[in-house]
Amino acid sequence: MQNIELKKGSAELLILSLIEDQPRHGYDISKLIEQRSAGTVKFRVTSLYPLLYRLEQRGWIDGRWVEKAGQRRRRYYRLTKEGLRVLAAQRRGWLEFVDAINRIAGLENA
């Protein structure tokens, strides 16, 4: 059973990695997650935005209102330097974790 911390941590990891290359707005982020996980992971408004705001408060991401001609203004989030550092660390942690799980699972199967 995955614990809460892990789940929380993984959600953060997902968001941070999605905006690593380019700034994205909330809807964009939620759709990308849904698409790339083929519908397995789905973020709802009620959990996505509080998480975004929290990450912003921590200074890992930075939200800015952007107006494009003919469109309503949207809030785009990009990774801060601090966020970049956190992302790297979380990636490492995740890999180690997955690696450990695999090894345990592998041992049990053998």
């Binding site: 707005h25 909330g26 809807y27 939620s30 709802r44 408004v45 009620t46 959990s47 935005y49 509080p50 705001y53 929290r54 408060q57 469109q71 309503r72 203004r73 949207r74 809030r75």
Partner: protein, 901 residues
């Protein structure tokens, strides 16, 4: 992409319970609405029907946990108070800065108010700071000795002889004792002009007990107060600089002090001034048990002690009492039991400042009252001001400023005023310092050096802040609590508010009451000084010049030599042109000196072991003294040439002494004896009473009488002929014109005799009232400031409230009220305030002026004449303050007054 109309509404409803700041809420709503809208249009594009797409999109918003709940952990609710206009973000520093700028701007708009307030406060704060500077230096600053709290003085009620000191040193388990002779004076000769110097003979351990080192050389070492090893001296820093030019090779040099050679072993540090600042040298005591008279019967001195570790003051007090009683058995002669009865120890600081403490505390309280008056005054001014700013305040409240915000703004203003007043006060304090100091210096030489300004600056800063908060708080609270609608609608004129009116009246009543207390005090001191000036000192001071002639004591070891010297001085002085007569005496009247000797009075039972013998003030005067000083001989005769060294010993007693000891018979022919003598001295005359100690007639209470001995027959407490005498010359011209002649004469007779303390008897009388005069002037100054402040305050409150009532008065006049009744109406208002102020002030005065009793002469602290005079004066001042507004009110034009509304 058009937005579905009700996303925002749906989101806002779900966020409502969070109570977010409006700006933040709308931001979130916008972002989430965009999300839902995107989803909605995606669904539409994929062929979902509109209602269904809306349903699905909204479903996303209604997941559990609810939006409000997940947001709550991230977003902060809005502050409880709405934000005042012009303060977009809450930051304490920013608010303060804004408040400050706002305050300064508003003062710029009403400079008269600001100047008056700052000046009032500067007077109050400055006076307090100046006084505190002196109090701090004298009473608070630690004594400049090591661990000064452990030092005690063991001579509160009596002195110990040298043998007693040694006895204490040997037997005390709670304290280590050192003795010092405070009144020693010796001649420094051999350096050109001879100098009479004040010094102290001290036990060898004094420096060690005080924990003070020397600046150069060494302190005395144990045993150096024993005979044969005691011909040493330590110089004060000042003496070293003045007479020896700071010569660093002074150590080991022998100087002539009191006619004997003493080797310089050390120089004291610059700041060292024990027992008092005039001390120029320290020599060891001469503790010689082989000479029982010198060891047990002479040279009684105060002793200072250091508590041993862990010993409390109470333990030390208990021990000194029992040691003193035990010591009675050690005396080689019967010592009065009452000598030991009062022996105790007190903290050294308390002992050193005993004559100063009450006076300084009374003055500090008085100046504290001045500050209170200033505060009340400024509070009154602020109240008036907030009243006229009511509209402005109401507007700010209407625009969303909270009550706390308004109070803070107003408090900032008052603190800014107080700080400005404080800064100006600093300047005043430092200017007043020298004035106060010189006024007080006459009282005591223990004021100590001026402080560095730091404690005072700290006090001023603290005082300013506290006063600013105190006088600003009430007006601010009242101003902030008002009826918005009423204030905006009707303007500033008629919503004065009962609370404000009451507070202003209370402030004025308080101010007047405090002013009454100060004015009564000043009045009492003035009356006391006036009484003092009326005192007949018992002699005629006009045209009398005095100077002190101070040969070494050793000169008088042969009595004949001394007698001959003074005979010759007087004979030749009388030959100087302008001199009418000349005489000599061991002390001058009003000089605060007490040449007291223990006596036996014939017929008075004297049991040595019960009581110490009565002490008489014992004058030694040359023939012609009484006539020269204008002291009347009431009975019998004065001295003349026949009362020589070998003839029958005679004395003249004062009238009070004669009354006291021989109330029903003539004193002539009665006998008095110095306790150590075996011959009786016969009373041959009764002289008029003279204020020997001071003009007010104080004298130490152990002095029970006064007698005069002819110089040739005199003995001082050390059983020697007094060597140091004051020469008294009556001139028929300006006393100053004969000074040169007398100096020359003395120089010719003996070049090694210093001559000093040259002054006229008139100036001596003047000096005797100096203490009362300084107190009087300081209080008069305080009272004047208090009166001005109270008058300004009363004027302000009455004229302000009259202005407030312009409308009402206009109505009255329109309805037929005469000018006269309007005048009375307004004046009546000030009268009520004055009456209340006077009543409270008088009651307070009766309670407080008792503190002044010890500074008064011939004046009761409740002197009715003064109380009445002060009431009259204050009433006059306050009525004057009420008169102007009353006249203005009487002149109100009803038409204009009514139209103005």
């Amino acid at each position: 992409m058009p937005e579905h109309p009700d996303w925002r509404n749906e989101i806002a409803i779900r966020l409502a319970s969070l109570d977010l700041p409006p700006a933040r809420e709308s931001e979130i709503v916008e972002e989430l609405a965009a999300h839902l809208n995107d989803d909605y249009h995606r669904l539409l594009a994929s062929g979902t029907s509109e209602p269904e797409a809306r349903e699905i999109a909204l479903e996303d918003l209604d997941q559990r946990p609810e939006l409000a709940e997940t947001m709550r952990g991230v977003e902060r609710p809005a502050p409880a108070h709405p934000i005042a206009l012009g303060t977009p973000r809450r930051s304490a520093a920013g608010d303060l800065w804004r408040d400050l700028r706002y305050a300064l701007r508003s003062f710029k708009r009403s400079p008269g108010f600001a100047a008056l307030a700052v000046l009032s406060l500067a007077l109050g704060i400055g006076g307090n700071a100046a006084m505190f500077r002196i109090v701090h230096a004298a009473l608070i600053r630690p004594l400049p000795y090591a661990d000064p709290d452990r030092l005690v003085e063991a001579s509160n009620s009596g002195y110990y002889p040298p043998g007693g000191l040694v006895d204490l040193q040997q037997h005390s388990r709670t304290m280590e004792f050192a003795g010092y002779n405070p009144g020693l004076e010796l001649n420094l000769t051999g350096l050109g002009q001879p100098w009479r110097l004040k010094g102290s003979a001290v036990s060898a351990n004094l420096f060690q007990i005080l924990g003070v080192g020397v600046a150069l050389g060494r302190a005395f070492q144990p045993g150096e107060d024993q005979p044969g090893r005691d011909n040493l001296v330590i110089l004060s820093h000042e003496l070293w600089q003045d007479q020896f030019a700071g010569d660093r090779h002074i150590l080991g040099r022998v100087v002539m002090l009191g006619g004997a050679g003493r080797m310089v072993v050390g120089v004291a540090p610059r700041s060292f001034a024990f027992p008092d600042p005039g001390t120029r040298f320290w020599i060891p005591l001469h503790l010689d048990p082989r000479d029982p008279t010198a060891y047990w019967a002479r040279g009684f001195m105060p002793v200072v002690a250091r508590l041993r570790p862990g010993v409390s003051l109470v333990q030390a007090q208990r021990e000194i009492a029992s040691l003193s009683v035990r010591m009675l058995r050690v005396f080689p002669y019967p010592m009065g039991r009452d000598w030991a009865a009062g022996m105790t120890v007190v903290p050294l600081r308390r002992f050193l400042t005993r004559d100063l403490r009450l006076k300084l505390l009374v003055l500090q309280c008085a100046v504290g009252l001045v500050l209170l008056i200033a505060c009340a005054n400024v509070a009154g001014l602020l109240l008036a001001r907030t009243a006229s700013r009511q509209k402005e305040i109401a507007l700010r409240v209407a625009l969303g400023a909270s009550r706390a915000r308004i109070v803070r703004q107003l408090l900032t203003e008052s603190v800014v005023l107080a700080l400005a007043g404080g800064s100006l006060g600093v300047a005043l304090a430092f200017a007043a310092d020298s004035v106060l100091r010189s006024e007080l210096q006459a009282t005591s030489n223990r004021l100590g050096a001026a402080d560095s300004g730091w404690p005072v600056l700290a006090l001023i800063a603290g005082l300013s802040l506290v006063t600013g908060l105190i006088f600003g708080l009430a007006p601010a609270l009242i101003a902030s609590r008002q009826d918005l609608a009423a204030a905006i609608k009707t303007g500033a004129q008629r919503t004065a508010g009962i609370a404000r009116a009451r507070l202003r009246s209370a402030l004025i009543v308080g101010e007047l009451a405090l002013a009454v207390v100060l004015t009564v005090s000043a009045g009492l001191l003035i009356r006391s000084l006036w009484k003092l000036a009326q005192v007949n000192p018992g002699f005629q001071p006009e045209h009398v010049l005095t100077l002190r002639v101070a040969p070494n004591e050793s000169l008088c070891r042969q009595r004949a030599a001394c007698i001959a010297l003074y005979n010759e001085v007087l004979r030749r002085a009388r030959e100087i042109p302008g001199v009418q007569g000349a005489a000599a005496a061991n002390t001058l009247p009003l000089s605060s000196a007490v040449p007291a000797s223990a006596v036996k009075v014939e017929g008075l039972p004297y049991v040595p072991s019960e009581h110490a013998a009565p002490m008489f003030w014992a004058g030694a005067v040359t023939p012609g003294y009484f006539r020269l000083m204008g002291i009347p001989i009431l009975q019998g005769r004065s001295f003349d040439g026949i009362d020589g060294e070998k003839s029958t010993p005679v004395i003249v007693v004062s009238a009070a002494t004669a009354r006291r000891y021989w109330p029903r018979e003539s004193a002539i022919g009665k006998h008095v004896q110095l306790v150590w003598e075996d011959r009786w001295r016969t009373v041959v005359g009764v002289a008029g009473d003279v204020r020997q100690f001071d003009l007010a007639g104080h004298a130490p209470d152990y002095v029970r009488g006064a007698m005069y001995m002819p110089y040739a027959q005199a003995e001082d407490t050390d059983r020697r002929l007094p060597a140091v005498m004051s020469l008294i010359v009556r001139t028929n011209t300006d006393p100053g014109s004969v000074v040169t002649g007398i100096r020359e004469l003395l120089g010719q007779l003996n070049a090694n005799v210093p001559v000093d303390e040259l002054r006229t008897m008139v100036s001596l009388v003047d000096e005797s009232t100096q203490q009362s005069r300084s107190m009087m002037w300081i209080f008069a100054g305080f009272a004047a400031v208090a009166l001005v402040l109270a008058a300004v305050g009363a004027y302000g409150v009455v004229s302000y409230s009259t202005a407030q009532r312009t409308f009402e008065i206009g109505v009255r006049v329109a309805l037929g009220a005469g000018r006269r009744s309007v005048f009375q109406l307004v004046l009546g208002q000030s009268l009520r305030l004055v009456m209340a102020g006077l009543a409270i002030g008088l009651a307070a005065s009766l309670a407080l002026t008792r503190l002044l009793a010890s500074f008064l002469y011939g004046t009761s602290p409740t002197d009715p004449a003064i109380l009445i005079a002060v009431c009259g004066m204050l009433a006059a001042v306050a009525l004057l303050a009420g008169y102007l507004p009353a006249r203005k009110a009487a002149a109100i034009d009803p038409l204009r007054a009514l139209r103005a509304e």
